[in-house]
């Protein structure tokens, strides 16, 4: 094992010799972060009789009173000033496009929005709940089998996950039934279902709830897509469509289509989240302790670096604590899990010059583009009647649903017309050529606000040797730790994919009966400034070989067998879907392995 000097992880305060960390009572499991994965682990472990401490860097919040209107509909506070997001004055990341550039710190969030606080991004997500495809989990093997060995470009370190779709299916099912996902199945045990997505992997049963009522925008898109021979279906949604009680006995309520999901908490108990779907069932369990405003700064391990001994964290007053634990679970956002491993000196950091090391390797993102269709004033879209996952999609050009042979790229995207909300500050579609401000702009906004449909492609992201995460040599956070440094640009493969998808989107847009169409293609370098998607993945990837992955197929560290890494940072590459369903499935998959195997016989599961 390669280990960084322990000083890398030390706190400024400790260096000054002012404090000694207070040692807390040892527990069976400590969770770093209490979002979706942390909440589910807490519930399952506490029920199984393990003692669990959840450490959350942000505060506690719940539906009542924190997410109630009209306060939660404050678009300026939450959507523009990122009221629920990570505080960049405490910690952020630095960014550059290429390894030969100087990375600079992101003092404002832009391209993606990591959350903070209990519930994590499960509070402010939209609820678009897709499963990845069977081929996604065995991508390298699949591509070679289907197209031959030479098809996968040498510079794309595409890998198999080490777990298959068939193995994960029961866990996808469990997470979807936890959330009360509203959708229409397209494939039940191999039988294609009318009205659903015919390309999806098999599922063992129908969704727990029927799909959302489709909006006018989605209907126009679906009609045009069907006329071209594509296969529209309603997007599976964690915005619930009826009253629902999940396996933990928690009740959720139907969505009112108010259009305030993304970047907001839900006031109606209608968007599946840790707050309403999991936490009320565990907060009263004496086996579980939740500590908020507890910022974990290091994973500790024994002198021989054979097992983790717990974590060190700092509370809101700056006091340092040590929480010993038999097992450590990293449940933070996809950036923070690799960051914590790097600052703790666990595993070998990836070095793009030599290609050695795995921590930080295979950082992937997603590749988005969009088209707007402008209608005459007879066509009323009513964009304000929305929900985060209210959309109509086609999956004809995603993943391995089409033959890539003639196209020379890997991956794809789903294409969807979403109606997530027509909020006043952000929603002002205008055609190309409209002035950016002034009278003409205002007139164009008034003219087009209610008569425009946006469609977007939600594209995959393939890994590249020059895209990675490491520790910034210059900038540090409020706790004295080096910031995470992101080096990223769209690989050529993904640009070709995005171009192909943009052409397909344009065909659909032209068939939608509008007066005018404006395109927003992927151009130039990746810019971290405009919002694109929060689906950051990789950095602590899972796999079958310790030489090319950080965790094994049970998300267990190859180096420290009592350390587990949850969430999207384990994805070896990022398919063209929203990640949460797969994150949830992997969580239940790991819980199964931990409770049924690891706890009985601690040690490597592979």
């Amino acid at each position: 094992m390669y280990l960084l000097p322990r000083e890398r992880g030390c706190l400024t305060a400790r260096k000054q010799g002012g404090f000694v960390a207070k040692r807390m009572k040892p527990v069976d499991a400590v969770l770093v972060g209490v979002g979706w994965t942390g909440s589910i682990l807490a519930k399952e472990f506490a029920d199984a009789g393990l003692t669990v401490v959840g450490l959350e860097r942000g505060g506690f919040r719940q539906t009542v009173p924190d997410f109630q209107a009209p306060g939660i509909h404050d678009e300026l506070r939450y959507a523009i000033r990122y009221g629920l997001m990570q505080d960049t004055s405490r910690t952020t990341l630095t960014f550059r496009n290429r390894p030969d550039e100087q990375a600079l710190p992101m003092r404002q969030l832009g391209s993606f929005l990591p959350g903070t606080g209990v519930g994590g991004a499960g509070v402010h997500w939209n609820g678009q709940t897709f499963r990845f495809q069977p081929a996604d989990f065995v991508l390298r093997t699949h591509l070679i089998e289907r197209y031959g060995k030479q098809f996968v470009p040498d510079d794309l370190p595409i890998q198999d996950w080490g777990v298959t779709y068939d193995e994960l299916e029961p866990y996808f099912d469990r997470f979807e039934y936890l959330c009360g996902i509203a959708g229409k199945a397209g494939n039940i045990k191999g039988e294609i279902q009318p009205g659903g997505n015919p390309f999806e992997g098999w599922r063992s049963r129908e969704y727990p709830l029927p799909p959302m009522k489709q909006a006018h925008a989605g209907a126009l898109f679906g009609k045009a897509a069907a006329s071209l021979g594509f296969h529209p279906f309603p997007v599976p949604s964690a915005n619930l469509t009826d009253h629902y009680t999940n396996e933990y006995g928690l009740t959720m309520k139907p969505c009112m289509y108010c259009g305030y999901c993304e970047r907001f908490g839900c006031e109606h108990f209608a968007k599946a989240s840790p707050q309403i779907s999991v936490l009320p069932a565990v907060l009263n369990n004496p086996n579980f302790t939740l500590r908020t405003h507890a910022n974990v700064t290091r994973v500790n391990f024994d002198a021989k670096a054979r097992r983790a001994t717990g974590v060190t964290y700092v509370d809101a007053q700056g006091q340092e604590f040590e929480q010993p634990a038999e097992m450590v679970f990293l449940c933070a956002f996809a950036h923070h899990n690799p960051h914590l491993m790097l600052v703790s000196g666990i595993g070998e950091p990836y070095d793009p010059k030599t290609g050695r090391g795995n921590v930080g390797r295979n950082y992937t993102y997603q590749t988005m583009s969009s088209v707007s269709v402008f209608y005459n004033e007879e066509v009323n879209i009513n964009p304000f009647m929305g929900a985060g996952a209210l959309g109509t999609a086609i999956d004809d050009f995603n993943g391995e649903n089409f033959d890539h042979g003639p196209h020379g790229f890997v991956g794809g995207a789903y294409v969807a017309a979403y109606t997530t909300g027509g909020r006043p500050i952000q929603h002002h579609p205008v055609p190309e050529g409209t002035p950016r401000w002034g009278l003409e702009w205002k007139q164009a906004v008034a003219r087009h606000y209610n008569h425009t449909v946006g469609i977007g492609s939600h594209g995959s992201s393939m890994p590249h040797p020059a895209n990675y995460l490491d520790l910034d040599p210059t900038y540090r956070d409020a706790w004295g730790l080096p910031l995470l440094r992101l080096t990223y640009d769209f690989p050529e493969n993904d640009r070709r994919m995005a171009e192909f998808l943009a052409d397909r989107m344009l065909e659909i847009a032209n068939a939608m009966g509008g007066e005018q169409v404006s395109e927003n293609r992927l151009g130039g370098r990746y810019s971290i400034v405009p919002y694109q998607t929060t689906h950051n993945t990789g950095g602590t990837i899972m796999g079958i070989d310790p030489q090319t992955s950080v965790v094994n197929r049970y998300l267990q560290s190859w180096d420290l067998p009592n350390l587990f890494v949850m969430g999207a940072s384990v994805f070896p590459q990022n398919p063209g879907y929203n990640p949460t369903d797969t994150v949830g499935a992997l969580t239940y998959w790991t819980i199964d392995a931990v409770l049924n195997r690891y706890v009985k016989n601690p040690g490597p599961l592979v």
Partner: protein, 235 residues
């Protein structure tokens, strides 16, 4: 049944685009129905219970209709007629009228303004409890704030969420009872039924008097429109 519903939901995917254009209301016809002046009209005129200005009364049986949203009242007429909101007085009346009549009479009351009737004196502690429930909901009971849907200060959100400000507490309490008992089954997804089942009688009373204490939209005293009684001295 569930399967059938899912199939229906799936087939509505493309159906919404082809919805027919809404009919235009004839307010004069609505007014005639309201005053019982239409030739050959057999059903009771609206004004006999709801007043010619739609002000209603505090008996609990006759809500204020003044300025209530056309779409909302229209849906209630339809629901009285189809039995999802059964009512011995309103069901026969609704069944005797045409769809166009429902629209016309709803539109008539929607455009009225009515005098401010003043506020009854309510128990301050109960008002405070009602204000709290209306603005924040209740974490203990798992109930969201009323104003999420019924608008700040209960002014309603067009077209489907009725205003509550200035509505009679007695009427709102009766509706909560109907939801709880399953008599009234006409709100989307049974959201109000769920809420009625979670609130205690005291909660219902508190939130009802709170909304009555607010000034209704359509009230003729412009200084008092939509204002919050809790912030003003009692008369």
């Amino acid at each position: 049944m569930l399967r059938l519903l899912r199939q229906l939901a799936a087939t509505t995917l493309l159906a919404l685009a082809a919805a027919p254009a809404p009919a235009q209301p004839n307010i004069a016809n609505g007014q005639l129905i309201a005053v019982g002046g239409r030739e050959g009209q057999v059903q009771t005129a609206c004004f006999r219970c709801h007043g010619i200005d739609g002000a209603g009364d505090s008996s609990g049986a006759f809500p204020r209709l003044t300025g209530q949203f056309t779409e909302y009242t229209l849906k209630q007429m339809r629901d009285y007629a189809n039995g999802s909101r059964p009512n011995d007085i309103m069901t026969p009346i609704a069944q005797a009228l045409s769809e166009q009549d429902w629209l016309d009479v709803s539109a008539f009351y929607a455009q009225l303004e009515a005098p401010d009737l003043g506020r009854p004196a309510f128990d301050v502690a109960a008002l405070q409890r009602g204000a709290d429930l209306s603005a924040s909901g209740s974490a203990e009971r798992g109930v969201q704030a009323c104003i999420n849907c019924h608008g700040p200060a209960g002014i309603g959100i067009e077209p489907h969420y009725p205003y509550l400000a200035g509505q009679f507490a007695t009427y709102m309490e009766l509706q909560f009872r109907f939801w709880k008992e399953g008599v009234r089954r006409n709100d989307h997804y049974g959201v109000m039924t769920d809420i009625a089942n979670r609130l205690t009688d005291e909660d219902v009373r508190a939130v009802s008097i709170y909304f009555e204490s607010l000034r209704p939209p359509g009230s003729t005293d412009p200084d008092l429109r939509g204002s919050d009684a809790a912030s003003r001295p009692e008369r």
